[in-house]
Structures are given as structure tokens and as C-alpha cells.
Chain length 200, copies 2
DNA sequence: TGATTAAGATACGTGGCCGTATCTTAAGTG
DNA sequence: CACTTAAGATACGGCCACGTATCTTAATCA
């Protein structure tokens, strides 16, 4: 009866639960996400969960919904290479957030839980306003430094794809040196800079 | 007592179970893989499973172990572009196999079940003997058609990475046209061919 | 054919999560 | 300071997977 001296309410409690569900997801995975588990981790009563949500997935959707996307990189100067590296570094940093871990878990089981994946794209990816490197490439194309015809969907994906592949293979995101290699050896050649012979 | 007129034994039964565990994995995911589920799907008794394996993961490991990797592409002629496209197409086709689905499920939960991921690399990826496009690139480099210095780890990963990213985004592997776009717009520029101005 | 081996069927207690109901009590409200 | 609102604690039957034990019986072998 008397276990809690203090008691969270409203948004305060909801925020704790959102944290809890992301942590629980990271630990046990989407398939083992459970109301009791979330309640335990949030140090609340199962009852309080059921008052608001009908299932673990509902809690998770709400938590994702609540995530405010971080800002997109803004190209800084006349430094295409540096801006690309910085854009990828932002991607890598996002990778370490709880939302990113949740995103990975959800995408990994997309076939089994399509509603979650759909919500993820709506709430997180679309809301973020597009790819990281694409923003940079468009900026330089608009200023006449790049041929806009070269900025195809495939080219816009090169950086993100290689970061993803590296993370998958090495189980860790690429270092700054590796990001530079990605920019130098894959992205820049695709937009007409190099590899060996400079394009202008 | 009398439900089965016929009865599988030995390797025959084991093969059925291996199929069953891969199918079960595809359906319910790694987190919900269960001895009873596997037994149900393989139409065998739980007892028979426990006679050989101690856990669902053990069954899965055994099933993966058993998979014989398919052959690696052999470059055919003096057609770098065509060979690259064919190599990626082989990757896409592998993608549709049960083992590939299992691999995806395991890699998605690598953090939670590292032993499975390790076994996967040993049994499947390493045994396959390397990347798809890498084989092709090395072939042409050895014949003096490409600068070997350009075939870095990053460049060797471009094709696979973009196929992976596309599959993730679109929830379906790329079409032949999209594979061609990947080769033309990302791989060939990185090895000094293109994008617009031919390198030789 | 008769003996041996291994699979099938069934049952059991245990434990975890389910969803709900009930009651107590702390936190906010006028 | 009453009063209302909402969270905490607990208990319940139901279901499902666990891991094991026991018995029957088909497949294989000598």
C-alpha cells in the first residue's frame, strides 16, 4: 500500500513511460515487448498503462510520435567535401539515440509489424525532411557547383547506404576517417569529382 | 496414439525441422521463436526436439550451419557493366531465400543475440567467400582494365550497400533498371568510369 | 522374424504475461 | 480545507511455453 511516497501524474508520468518503452525495446526487442515489462521499467502499475494504451505497440507508437526530430544539416561554406562529411557525421550521431535504436528494431521486423514501420516513416523519417547528404548536394547544385542532373535518387543514397552497411558489418558506425573515405571514394566521384581526375 | 501412419527418422526428420525453424523465424521473429512453435510447424513432437537441441536458438544455428552457400558470380566477358549488374542480381536473388530472411532477422537483433550473429557470419557470409561485386571488380583489375588502387573496401561495398538501402526503404529489392542505375551512377564513377565523361 | 532404436503422443507442474476488477491514497482543484 | 481526479497496489482466472517423464509404436537392423 505504502511503497511510493511521491507519485507522478499526467505528462510527467507519460514521459517516463515513453523512456521506459524505448529502453525496454532496446533490451528485449520488439517481439518481447510487454505491458508488464514496460510497467516494471517505468516503475508504475500495469493498471496505469492500460488506462491509456491498449498494447505495447500503442505505447511505442506514442513514444515515437513524441520524438521531436533534430534539425537537418545546413551547408556552411564553399566546402562540399566538408559539408558532406558533416552531414554523414550527423547521421552517425543520430544513430546513437534511443529513437534510432527503436527505428532499427522496427525496420528489422517490418514484415511482421507493418503499422509500426509505417508510423515510423511518418513520424520520424518524413518529419525529418529528407536525407542528410541530399540536403547538401541540392545546396551546391542550386549554386551551380554541381550538375543537378547527377543528383539522382541513387546518388543521394550513396552516403547513407554506406554508413548503414558499415554499421551492419562492423556492428559500429564508421569513424571520421571512414566517413571521409565514403565521401572521397563514393559520393564525390558520383557527382563528377574524381576519383583521380578532377571534373573541372 | 495412432495419428501418424508414417514416421520420419534421422536426417530426414532433421531436414524437416530445419525448414520449419526457418519458416517459423520468418513468421514470428527471433524473439518469439519457440520450441513448441517449431514442433508444431515441423509436425513433430516437442520431445523429439529436446532429444537433439536445448533451445530454439540451437535449432536455428544448426539449420544455418546446414545451409550450403550458393556459388559466387564468375565474370563472363569483356563487359564490366553487365557483370556488375549480374552480380547484383545474384545478390537480389539470394535475398529471396529463407536463409536470407533468417539472416535479416538475426542481424536486426544482433545486439541481443550476438552468438547468432557470429555464427551467421561464420557459416554463411564468410563461407560464401566475399562480396558479390568485389569478385567482378577484382577480375577486371587483374586484367588491367581497372586501376587496382581504386578498389577500396568502400568502393567494394557500394553496390551491396545501395541494394540493401533500397530494400530497406522500399521493402522490396531493386528492379533490374534500378540495379543498372546503381552500377551506372555509383559504382562505375567510383572506379573511374564516368559519370558523364568516360575515363579513357 | 524378433530385437533394438528412436519418434509420436500425452500429461504434468511452473512461471510469465494477459486483461480486468477492486481498493487505497497521493496529487491537484475550488 | 473538503473534494475530485488519477495513480499505486494487489489479486484473479486464462492461456501459453517451458522442460521433463512416461508410454506406445513405427522403422530399422541382425
Amino acid at each position: 500500500m505504502t511503497k511510493q511516497a511521491t507519485r507522478r501524474r499526467g505528462d510527467d508520468l507519460v514521459r517516463s513511460i515513453h523512456e521506459a518503452v524505448l529502453a525496454e525495446l532496446a533490451e528485449v526487442g520488439l517481439g518481447r515487448l510487454t505491458m508488464e515489462g514496460i510497467a516494471r521499467r517505468a516503475r508504475t502499475a500495469k493498471t496505469s498503462l492500460y488506462r491509456r494504451w491498449a498494447s505495447p505497440h500503442d505505447v511505442l507508437l506514442d513514444a515515437i510520435h513524441d520524438e521531436h526530430p533534430q534539425e537537418v544539416p545546413s551547408p556552411s561554406a564553399d566546402d562540399l567535401r566538408g559539408d558532406l562529411i558533416r552531414a554523414l557525421r550527423q547521421l552517425v550521431e543520430w544513430t546513437r539515440s534511443p529513437t534510432a535504436a527503436a527505428a532499427a528494431a522496427i525496420l528489422g521486423e517490418r514484415k511482421r509489424y507493418p503499422e509500426l514501420a509505417a508510423a515510423l516513416y511518418e513520424r520520424v523519417f518524413d518529419a525529418r525532411g529528407g536525407r542528410f547528404t541530399l540536403t547538401v548536394l541540392r545546396y551546391y547544385a542550386a549554386r551551380g557547383h554541381l550538375d543537378p542532373a547527377l543528383i539522382t535518387p541513387v546518388v543521394a543514397d550513396i552516403g547513407e547506404a554506406l554508413v548503414l552497411k558499415h554499421s551492419l558489418d562492423a556492428d559500429a558506425p564508421p569513424s571520421d576517417e571512414q566517413l571521409a573515405a565514403i565521401v572521397d571514394q563514393a559520393i564525390l566521384p558520383a557527382v563528377g569529382r574524381g576519383p583521380q581526375r578532377a571534373a573541372r
